[in-house]
């Protein structure tokens, strides 16, 4: 365990190194800081960013929105996914709505979102529109793949429905749910930032990224991007921790 986790860290570090070197070479090749800044320049900008007073409120605002969007998506995805998984009728009732949510371009409804929600919440709503279908789809797939024999057993022994849901369905769909949740969590940051660019809340990585972008402060754009990636890394790690904690039995 000890040595393998050291190995893991080494391999990951090597991979990151290769990525940074690739980035550096590409930046040199392009030769224009305002198109692709070097990693060093980006790092310099990051230090300036992180040490500025406004940094943490901005980051926390985005993290808060991302988490809120994620949690609502998770809740909705699991509950509606279970409902759809349980009943064919519910599935077909929900299907058109899910398709609409899944495929409606954000641009088409952004104005409605701005009218109905305040600009702090718009990114949360937009995030929901992408994360919810990911989680819902995986939950439904998990239920479709449930072990029917276990289900028969539980019914035979007259186990209460809510117990079947929580103690048989939920653990069964866990691998699917975790796959969906970890993908959703990873994509969340990209989506929330895109949505912040659309709704321009006072505080938000997206707002800042956009301002840096129209100013051609590309190193700053990349610095914010690295911040987003780091956030994603951290939450990925958290999800992995939860994953190993939940999966003690196999």
């Amino acid at each position: 365990m000890e040595t393998s986790s050291i190995k893991t860290i080494l391999v990951t570090a090597a991979s990151i190194l290769v990525m940074v070197i690739t980035w550096h070479l590409l930046a040199l090749m392009l030769g224009h800081e305002y198109i692709l800044p070097t990693p060093a320049e980006t790092a310099r900008q990051m230090i300036i960013l992180v040490s500025s007073a406004g940094f943490w409120p901005v980051v926390l605002a985005t993290i808060g929105r991302g988490l809120l969007g994620f949690i609502i998506s998770l809740g909705l995805g699991v509950i509606l996914g279970l409902v759809a998984g349980f009943s064919k009728a519910a599935y077909w009732l929900l299907q058109p709505w899910v398709t609409v949510v899944r495929s409606t371009p954000v641009m088409s409804v952004i104005i409605l979102a701005i009218i109905w929600f305040e600009s702090n919440l718009v990114p949360v709503v937009v995030t929901l529109l992408i994360l919810f279908p990911i989680i819902y789809g995986n939950v439904v797939a998990g239920i479709m793949n449930i072990n029917k024999e276990l289900l028969e057993m539980a019914r035979m022994y007259k186990v209460k429905t809510w117990r079947i849901v929580t103690e048989l369905y939920l653990p069964s769909i866990l691998p699917f749910l975790l796959a969906g949740a970890s993908t959703a969590m990873g994509i969340a940051w990209k989506v929330i930032i895109a949505a912040e660019i659309l709704s321009q809340p006072q505080l938000g990585i997206g707002t800042n990224l956009m301002i840096a972008k129209i100013d051609f402060a590309t190193a700053q754009v990349f610095a914010w991007t690295v911040v987003a990636i780091v956030i994603s890394f951290v939450f990925e790690y958290l999800i992995r921790l939860i994953e190993t904690r939940l999966n003690t039995w196999s």
Binding site: E152, M156, Y157, T248
Partner: protein
């Protein structure tokens, strides 16, 4: 009251599995069912339990009864420990304290007390079978459907469990349908032994076994006669 399986038929996609199967049995008996592999024994238990419907025919006497079905596979929840797997079917029916007692009791009976906190993946084949057995026993039911309950167990354990089962049944009589491939087991346990034909399964013959349990020993000549009768039935062609 009695149970009737009235000319039941069942096919799977053109494969006739059960054909005009008729059984009428008294309540609170141990009915053993013998028959070739792939005949339709499990299918019969599935029909009795309501897991699958019959194509034609009626079954009566089973409705509204609590059934402990020991499936042919163990059907344990992989994410629950031995203890929790049993608890899963008892919850909401029995108080916590009583459940603890029942679980401890049956785990002891199948000799798995030391493994109550193990997950199924950490158990041997026979041990999983025993957990499923304990679960079926622990569940408060009027009918027990058992599909090869003692398979994968060693000689001694089988005997112990057989005896424990008889004792249990004598103290609290329930209706038992017991599928097995072990003729000796059927002889020692059954009060009526049904022999099924090969697929499509129908009743080839039924052998009553009125010998009291305490007299069922290896050298009991009456038992040997019944054994011969069963052997003849098994090898006869219809």
């Amino acid at each position: 009251m009695s149970f009737t399986i009235d000319h039941v038929n069942k096919s799977f996609a053109g494969l006739e599995v059960i054909k005009d199967l008729f059984m009428q049995v008294e309540e609170n008996q141990i009915i053993c069912i013998l028959g070739p592999s792939g005949a339709g024994k499990t299918t019969l238990l599935n029909i009795i339990s309501g897991v699958i419907p019959a194509d034609r025919g009626k079954i009566s006497g089973f409705a509204d009864k609590n059934i402990s079905y020991l499936f042919q596979e163990h059907r344990l929840l992989p994410w629950k420990t031995v203890e929790d797997n049993i608890d899963f079917v008892l919850k909401d029916k029995i108080s916590l304290k009583e459940r603890k007692r029942i679980i401890a009791h049956y785990l002891d009976m199948v000799d798995l007390t030391a493994f109550s906190a193990y997950y199924p993946s950490q158990l041997s084949g026979g041990m999983k079978q025993r957990v499923a057995l304990a679960r079926a026993f622990a569940y408060p039911s009027e009918i027990l459907l058992m599909d090869e309950p003692f398979k994968g167990l060693d000689y001694h354990l089988k005997r112990t469990l057989r005896e424990a089962f008889i004792k249990l049944w004598q103290a609290d009589k329930r209706s038992v349908f017991f599928v097995t491939h072990d003729i000796e087991e059927a002889l020692l346990m059954g009060q009526e032994i049904y022999v099924l034909t090969d697929r499509p399964a129908t009743v080839k013959g039924k052998v009553p076994n009125p010998i009291p349990y305490y007299e069922r020993t290896r050298n009991n000549s009456a038992l040997q006669r019944i054994e011969n009768e069963i052997h003849q039935l098994l090898s006869s062609r219809v």
